[in-house]
């Protein structure tokens, strides 16, 4: 088979090369003072939310998540936020940082203006439970409503179903979604209209609508043709800018709109 031959005849990399002099170059990692201004809320003690400042010394490679941990671990253990993988793949720590939705673990402090306090708030449009933790259930409910799973009515073959590389590429972008809600909670329509499915649900519908193995595209398009479906999108591109995975969210929504109009997947 052709691809094996290519690999086996490809030249072996040199076993020794001259490394560029700067490699590892760095020396000391710079440190700096940073203030986090965090939106605090705990209904167990008060119905009011308030801003609270925390100042600390951080390093050039630190992320906002590291600063939040430093607060929690050294200053105030009650500061509450979700996090898990800490490198941008689990989707736990989406929050509003200086007014933009981002993952705290993917936002380096040095890339922000540290001369001013860094504003950290919960994502918008979902009920706040405590500090930076929101109720994710409405978000996952919308996800579940678009039939986010493969439906194939053919008799299952004993081996894998065939799919060409081109067919696979058709929906590659939307398979990257980590359900962090950064897109949905950046959408002005979602903020004002609690019923709108939101970009993340549409992205996940797109992932199956354009999968050549799937047979339920029409049903999903019907669901998304609802008054609370894709037509609510006003193409503000907030979602695309917010996506930490670089998914072209607005384009995916546009493709779904187009598919509804033409009913050609």
């Amino acid at each position: 088979m052709s691809n094996i031959e290519t690999a086996e005849t490809a030249p072996e990399p040199a076993s020794k090369v001259e490394l560029p002099a700067h490699l590892g170059g760095g020396g000391e990692i710079p440190t700096f003072e940073v203030t986090l201004r965090v939106r605090r809320y705990d209904p167990e003690f008060s119905q009011e939310s308030k801003w609270e400042d925390f100042t600390m010394t951080m390093y050039g490679t630190d992320r906002v998540l590291d600063a939040l941990h430093k607060v929690k671990w050294e200053q105030d253990g009650s500061l509450s936020f979700r996090r898990s993988c800490a490198h941008g793949v689990c989707g736990s720590d989406a929050m509003r940082i200086n007014g933009r939705n981002r993952l705290a673990c993917k936002t380096l402090l040095k890339d922000l203006d540290t001369s001013k306090p860094i504003l950290v708030e919960p994502i918008k449009g979902l009920p706040v439970e405590k500090d930076l933790i929101v109720d994710m259930e409405p978000f996952f409910q919308s996800f579940r409503e678009v039939m986010p799973f493969l439906v194939n009515r053919d008799h299952a073959p004993t081996k894998e179903r065939l799919q060409s590389a081109e067919e696979r590429a058709r929906f590659d972008d939307t398979t990257k979604c980590i359900l962090c809600a950064a897109c949905t909670s950046s959408c002005p329509v979602f903020w004002t209209d609690g019923q709108y499915f939101g970009p993340a649900a549409i992205v996940n519908a797109h992932r199956f609508i354009f999968d050549s193995r799937d047979d339920a595209g029409d049903m999903r398009l019907e669901i998304l043709n609802d008054k609370e479906g894709v037509w609510r999108c006003r193409t503000t591109f907030n979602c695309t800018e917010a996506c930490p995975r670089g998914i072209q969210v607005t384009q995916a929504i546009a493709e779904v709109k187009q598919a509804i109009l033409s009913r050609q997947i």
Partner: protein
């Protein structure tokens, strides 16, 4: 306190838990309890692939895969289990494809396959293309696909429910030879609802542990903050042994200083490791398969380069992963995520610059012992009816003393499925075991202690010191001296842990409290790992003793089994290992007699 009743309760919603749920949910009344939302689980961070001898791109078969797994695990693998995994791998991949997983494809539209460390053609002759993959986000695709199918099958999740206790009862029973023993039986679990701070008891006929690993005992780790060994910890506290805990895998290529994983797939696609002299040093350590040697060997070789002064950077404390000879388009197609990690977190452009890397704590080969049906063992021969374990929390043992790359994604699918089927089938024919009186009592006591204690010690400080000493003394090179240092440190941490103060006194989302409980598990597991490492006076797979550099099959080709045992006191054993009793379990050998392990 609320009491719920299910046929099957699954603890954990990563790959193993959700694969089990898909099976169990269709056969029996099933609940999944998870301390995270399912899609946050660390299966999603796995990158490179899942091996199965599909032979889609070149000749391959499951027997070669079995052999590689056994040899990769340095002959501590139970060979019956490895054979099952390699055989069932093929269906496991096809199952995932049918569930919708978007694998990369060959020009013919079949599932594409690539090379991975330790996976070879015909018993070690050359690397083989066995890893089925979806770019470098195979774990993400598996986690999403399994969650999607759980949604499809209406699996019931209790999200952010943290299981803190297994409810077991001991019954007198008689063995065939007439001896009387205490048979454990499972009655359910106790969980803590993070949102409200309320306790919920789940009575169940079957319980499946699928809680993942314990990488947070180390400082430099690819593991999530939440991987604190909870499932291993609660089992151990209930008198269930832990098997082979001295074997912890250090993945060769963590981003230097950060530990973030850069998949072995990079080397599978042609990347190579270099030292400060620009030398491809793996040619010296593994002349045949070089950079694609198993992880224990590569990690040790890297650490050795650094130790001998050939490390890179201002402190000469890492080596380089060189992808610069690969085409940027090829990198974008096959390795998009890991190259983005290098750019985001280190500011390095992998197209043009080699990436600084160093071994990072990655995977626990050991865990809760099970048989090939995933039934948990209370000793070498006795299962606990109704209790199952699968995935990283378990030790079947298919990984022996060193897991091959991709075999964890395989493990969770093969044994997750087996657990789901077995637990549901068992529940159909079994009665509920009566809950013990005050089933929540132990959990209440645990939480109250943590909540009320006010000695002023900080959880984060003790955890950091634990992680520091584990990195310094229990990483790829170990000696009796370094191990003793850890044991002495842990003894002082345990004392300080009894005097911690948790600042958050509330009930809602009290993650401060949660971290304190997690630290309790980390301390307990670090001690088990270290005690087992002290007693294994040989070098095998991921466990390398500089004072005993050779493998010693005569004395040590057996699994270690660690039991929590208060009868082991400072009088009957060394001071720092009180509370743990070590026994052994034979290795299952079928086809392959141990040989010298060379690559």
């Amino acid at each position: 306190m609320q009491v719920h009743k299910y046929d099957v309760v699954i603890v954990g919603a990563g790959g193993a838990g959700m694969r089990a749920a898909i099976e169990s949910g269709q056969r029996a009344h099933t609940a999944v309890l998870t301390k995270l939302y399912p899609t946050r689980s660390h299966t999603g961070a796995a990158q490179g692939g899942m091996c199965a001898a599909l032979a889609n791109v070149e000749e391959d078969n499951w027997e070669w895969h079995t052999f590689d797994t056994v040899k990769g695990g340095d002959y501590l693998v139970d060979q019956d289990a490895a054979e099952i995994m390699a055989k069932e791998a093929i269906d496991a991949v096809i199952d995932l494809e049918k569930m919708g997983l978007p694998f990369n494809r060959t020009p013919e539209g079949r599932i594409d396959q690539r090379r991975f460390g330790g996976h070879t053609r015909d018993h070690g002759k050359a690397p083989v293309r066995r890893a089925c993959y979806a770019a470098d986000r195979t774990g993400h695709m598996i986690l999403q696909t399994l969650y999607q199918n759980c949604v499809k099958h209406n699996v019931e999740f209790y999200n952010e429910y943290y299981v803190l206790d297994l409810l077991t009862v001991d019954e007198e029973a008689t063995r065939e030879d007439g001896t009387v023993y205490l048979q454990k039986r499972i009655a359910g679990v106790v969980s803590y609802d993070l949102a409200t701070g309320e306790l919920h008891v789940f009575q169940a006929k079957s319980v499946i542990l699928a809680t993942g690993g314990a990488g947070k005992v180390f400082k430099t780790t690819s593991n999530a903050h939440t991987l604190t060994g909870d499932g291993m910890g609660i089992a151990f506290r209930k008198g269930i042994p832990l098997e082979d805990m001295e074997f912890f895998q250090f993945h060769p290529t963590g981003l230097a200083g950060l530990g973030i994983l850069l998949s072995e797939a990079a080397r599978g696609e042609g990347a190579i490791l270099r030292n400060s002299e620009g030398e491809r040093f793996m040619e010296r350590y593994a002349p045949t398969i070089k950079d694609l040697a198993p992880r224990d060997i590569v990690a040790r070789s890297m650490a050795n380069e650094v130790r001998e002064g050939r490390g890179c950077g201002p402190n000469k404390d890492y080596v380089l992963l060189d992808l610069t000879h690969l085409e940027p388009a090829h990198i974008d197609a096959k390795l998009p995520d890991i190259t983005e990690f290098a750019r985001t977190y280190l500011g390095v452009e992998p197209y043009t610059e080699p990436v600084p890397v160093f071994p990072t704590a990655h995977y626990a080969m050991g865990g809760v012992p099970t048989n090939i049906t995933t039934e948990v063992l209370q000793d070498n021969d006795t299962i606990i009816p109704g209790l199952y374990a699968a995935g990283e929390v378990a030790c079947v043992s298919v990984h022996g003393s060193n897991r091959l790359g991709t075999n964890s994604l395989l493990d969770i699918n093969v044994f997750g499925k087996r657990a789901g089927v077995a637990a549901a089938e068992y529940a159909k024919g079994a009665d509920f075991v009566d809950l013990p009186e005050n089933p929540e009592a132990d959990t209440v006591a645990l939480l109250e202690h943590v909540r009320i204690s006010d000695g002023g010690e900080k959880v984060a400080m003790i955890r950091k010191e634990l992680q520091d000493t584990m990195d310094a003394n229990m990483q790829v090179f170990r000696t009796a001296t370094s191990i003793d240092k850890v044991l002495a440190d842990i003894a002082s941490f345990e004392e300080r842990y009894s005097r911690i103060t948790v600042q958050d006194k509330g009930k809602r989302f009290n993650l401060d409290l949660l971290e304190a409980v997690e630290l309790g598990f980390l301390l307990e597991l670090a001690k088990v790992m270290t005690v087992a490492a002290l007693h294994r006076q040989e070098s095998r797979g991921g466990h390398y003793r500089e004072d005993f550099p050779d493998r010693d099959d005569e004395k040590f080709m057996k699994h270690s089994m660690a039991f929590k045992d208060v009868a082991v006191t400072t009088e009957s054993s060394a001071e720092n290992i009180a509370g743990i009793r070590l026994e052994t379990k034979p290795v299952v050998v079928t086809r392959y007699q141990p040989m010298v392990r060379k690559y």
